[in-house]
Amino acid sequence: MQENIRNISFKTFAKLCYYPDQELADLLFDDVITRFLSALEIENSNINQLTSWLKTFKSKEELLETLQVEYTHLFITSFPSLHAPMFKSFYYENEILGMSTEKVMDIYDKFNFHVSDDMAEPPDNLAIMLEFVYRLSELENTYEDQISFVKNEILSWIEQLEEKINEAAEIPFYPFIINTIIHYLKNDVTQYEIKLAGAKL
């Protein structure tokens, strides 16, 4: 059961990091995601603030438009310059498809995954990486691989992304989301390490 909650968490985080679509707007507008996050009781996560912000929208369409404009502003193109590229190799090599992306692709290959043909983002986009952990969590005997991936491929740069999001965000949504994800991932790794230490004892 624990794994089930965990894999839905990763799936939800991935969903939140992809370009907002109608389904995401529906899930947010109907409080589905906030209820889920609230139940996770993530440390430092001010879910009430997000809930209040979501209540300010009169329609799902208005919410979707706001999220899409903000997503474009933060992660695609924005004035005065692109604020927060959401892919790892930007932080490592300052280019798309850098060496660090290739490392991520090698890991995907190892587990027989590749980026879908109709997915336009690079393989080391945060959303795809979170989706990968979710996909792995559905496979048996991959827990250590999941933790290793989170630790080495995501936590190694995500705080830089958070910093950029916090600097440039025009609405509170993405600062909240990225902060929540970071706390969840760190806790996930800590839980594993505690478990590992316990096993050694």
């Binding site: 799936k11 589905v32 139940a39 798309i96 590749h114 690079p122 989706e131």
Partner: protein
């Protein structure tokens, strides 16, 4: 947070529904490989052609197992470049992988210029554009849509625009580059020069460069030919106010006063004619107007030209003698970017007449002839008859190109709504703000539009003003139209093919055009199913299929490889008289000088310098400044200034200054390069810097912009091209003009005639000068 489902549900029955809903949510960024998948292929080498500049050298893309482009090499089987590639060509992968590149179609959600966009799907983007285009066509006519293309990638969209019915298609290759040269040569020989310039480096004994900057304007193939000619012992005369890369290799460097080239050319003609050194047989058999020419240049002696050009008369005489000694194997390079002073077609004529006197047009060692290459166009529906043009080509400017158009004419027409309103612009791979002078006028023209669409790779400044942005795949990610090179001794065709998959949602030009056509009801202009079908058809007359040449990327056509005139047969030139026209009755009929006349330019005001600009081997136009490797080599431009002048002014090599032009427009800061290698009247900078789009992280605000100092142009009355070296600048240091004895500011004088479109001191003012409170009368 390690919780069980039971614990989790305890935290709220409300969350139970959430789990159920979220577990059915779909995300699909990853897919499983099919069963039996054994891993990717090893590294591949894929041939294609470059687009880091317009020369399109042969390349080989090295792609790894992940489909990532690792490096680019030259293609050894390319007939002109033989495996060589310049710095830009080697750096192309950094443009494809530039984090700043355009990734998705974007729709403006803020005000124009605010740079606020929303990502939209291609369907939304193309529907928006075509709905607008249909409405504009219905209300104002197809001619109210202006199209600004550049390069072979834009050909499919250009085909579409012709099918749409607009005559208003214009690219800077004509009016801001080589148009006036082609007008001059066509009036004289009946043919355009074309690209690359067909100078017979292989057989020449003497090369003459007037404003030709091989080594700075780098086409690898031409550089190679030039280097081989020098190594072989061919002599070189370079006419240039600046000690260019080519001048450094020259036997004779003629650093003339800027703007006096025609006087020099007339004096050379004088010497050749009056000392009987010209090719008499060639002129007698193939030219008309010799007597008028002889009379015309009678007074144009070396002493006369020496007074005007500032060159020693003996140097003018010696170089004329060299030409006489080596004719007809003298290659007078026709030049490339020749939009200098507004008298450029007549200077082009003078160069063509000189070539004729040397008997070197269509002869070994001179200018060889273009060849034909059969590559049929795919059958298409007939284009509607377009309405009258708005840019003045063929009317106001009688020799303006109907094919390439006149960009500045189209900007003027849009700005002034004369001869009729232009309501939409589609800018495709062109940078209208950086490539056309007087950028304020261009921006004001954009303000008048109901629709402004930009199709591009990177968010250049024009992007800020766009209503719709369409991200094009880079040259490394797409097929383009077949590239045929007729100006090679053995003509050839080269293919551009995808080396890597398009990143994000960028799309190739053929796809954008075909999808747009569907929505405009113009599908019958694109009757092919796939781009491969299209290319197969075009290659069919060469006896090959696309598949057959994909391994090399090149096919040569050697059916008629002699690119010279056969003098054993009658020769008919494509001029009105059928002869080489030293005297042009056509020009006379239009009220122009039938033989070029030297007309002095405005004097440079005291304390000012004539602003010259040019190329660097590291960058192409304003296109490559954001490329990480090229930015690393050359992040800024710098200002060449004569060392004697600099010493008098107390300027120090490497220090930063600003420039102020005659209209009071200030540049951003630029570093000084003090050198004896430039005429004292002139300063020089490389074009394309001080990018004003903050979306370009590396290029933004680096160096100074020459374009933003071009508030004035002299328009060539023959071609409509913009003479851009007519702007004067003075040096501003620490917010104050540099003192020159007897100098006064000309700002007030010029402001009396300043066009309304030009701002007063509008440009980005560097911090150091913002509070200087400088007087317009200055020193």
């Amino acid at each position: 947070m390690s919780i069980t489902r039971r614990e989790f549900l305890k935290r709220g029955t409300i969350a139970a529904g959430a789990i159920s809903l979220l577990s059915t949510t779909k995300i699909k960024g990853l897919t499983n490989y099919p069963k039996g998948w054994k891993g990717r292929e090893r590294v591949q080498e894929i041939p294609s052609i470059c687009e880091m500049c317009f020369w399109r050298c042969g390349i080989l893309g090295n792609v790894d197992k992940h489909g990532k482009l690792l490096k680019i090499d030259g293609n050894p089987v390319h007939p002109l470049t033989h495996g060589r590639l310049c710095a830009r060509g080697n750096s192309g992968h950094k443009t494809a992988y530039d984090p700043d590149r355009l990734k998705y179609p974007l729709m403006r959600v803020g005000k124009r210029g605010e740079g606020k966009f929303k990502r939209v799907s291609w369907d939304e983007a193309l529907n928006f554009m075509t709905d607008k285009l249909k409405n504009i066509k219905e209300e104002y006519g197809a001619e109210s849509v202006g199209f600004f293309p550049h390069g072979i990638q834009a050909r499919f969209f250009e085909h579409l625009m012709k099918g749409f019915g607009t005559p208003n298609i214009a690219e800077p290759a004509f009016a801001q580059c080589r148009g006036s040269r082609d007008v001059g040569y066509k009036l004289t020989f009946g043919n355009n020069i074309g690209s690359p310039e067909p100078l017979d480096f292989e057989n020449t004994d003497l090369m003459v460069f007037i404003g030709t900057h091989i080594g700075e304007n780098v086409f690898t193939g031409q550089n190679l030919q030039f280097g081989n000619a020098i190594e072989r012992g061919a002599k070189l005369i370079v006419v240039d106010p600046r000690f260019s890369v080519a001048a450094a290799k020259a036997d004779y460097w003629l650093p003339l006063k800027p703007g006096t080239d025609t006087a020099l050319l007339l004096a050379w003609m004088h010497v050749l004619i009056y000392e009987n050194l010209y090719d008499k047989k060639y002129i007698r058999n193939y030219a008309i107007g010799f007597d008028q020419l002889k009379k015309h240049v009678k007074s144009c002696t070396p002493d006369w030209a020496a007074e005007i050009t500032g060159l020693p008369a003996s140097l003018i005489l010696d170089t004329a003698h060299e030409m006489g000694k080596h004719l007809p194997k003298v290659g007078v390079h026709p030049g490339r970017h020749v939009a200098w002073y507004g008298n450029d077609s007549q200077r082009g004529r003078a160069m063509a007449i000189l070539t004729a006197l040397l008997g070197s047009y269509g002869r070994p060692g001179g200018i060889y002839l273009s060849s034909k290459i059969p590559a049929p166009h795919y059958p298409s529906a007939k284009n509607p008859k377009p309405g009258p043009r708005a840019d003045g080509a063929g009317t106001i400017y009688p020799f303006g190109s109907l094919g390439l158009g006149i960009t500045n004419g189209l900007v003027d027409a849009t700005h002034d709504e004369d001869p009729y309103p232009i309501k939409a612009w589609i800018v495709y791979s062109q940078n209208v703000i950086q490539s056309i002078p007087d950028p304020w006028k261009t921006k004001e023209a954009i303000d008048k539009l109901d629709l402004f669409v930009v199709v591009d790779i990177l968010p250049m400044e024009q992007f800020l003003y766009a209503d719709l942005v369409l991200p094009e795949a880079t040259y490394l990610e797409r097929y383009d139209d077949l590239y045929t090179v007729k100006n090679a001794k053995i003509p050839f065709a080269a293919i551009r093919q995808p080396i890597i998959k398009p990143l994000y949602e960028s799309k190739p030009g053929w796809w954008i055009a075909k999808e747009t056509a569907k929505r405009l009801g113009l599908e019958d202009h694109f009757q092919w199913d796939t781009i491969e079908d299209y290319l197969d058809y075009r290659l069919s007359a060469l006896g090959k299929t696309l598949k057959e040449i994909q391994n090399t990327g090149i096919i040569e056509y050697d059916k008629d490889p002699t690119p010279y005139y056969d003098f054993s047969k009658p020769i008919k030139f494509k001029t009105r008289s059928g002869k080489i026209e030293l005297y042009s009755q056509t020009l006379k009929d239009y009220g122009f000088d039938p033989i070029p006349v030297y007309e002095p330019l405005d004097d440079v005001p005291k304390g000012y310098f004539r602003l010259a600009y040019g190329r660097s081997p590291i960058h192409s136009f304003a296109r490559t400044q954001n490329n990480e490797i090229l930015h690393g080599y050359m992040p800024d431009n710098y200002l060449w200034i004569n060392s004697t002048v600099a010493n008098k002014l107390g300027l120090v090599d490497g220090e930063y200054v600003n420039l102020e032009n005659q209209d009071g427009i200030l540049s951003d800061k630029i570093r000084l390069f003090i050198t004896p290698g430039i005429h004292p009247e002139s300063v020089f900078m490389v074009h394309g810097f001080d990018q004003k789009s903050p979306f370009l992280k590396l290029a933004y605000k680096h160096g100074a912009s020459d374009t933003y100092l071009m508030s004035r142009v002299n328009v060539d009355p023959l071609s409509g091209g913009t003479g851009m070296r007519v702007n004067f600048v003075r040096i501003i240091k620490n917010g104050q003009p540099i003192m020159v004895s007897g100098a006064v500011s000309v700002v007030a004088k010029f402001k009396k005639t300043l066009k309304s479109s030009v701002p007063k001191k509008r440009i980005v003012v560097p911090e150091a000068t913002q509070e200087a409170g400088e007087s317009e009368e200055g020193c």
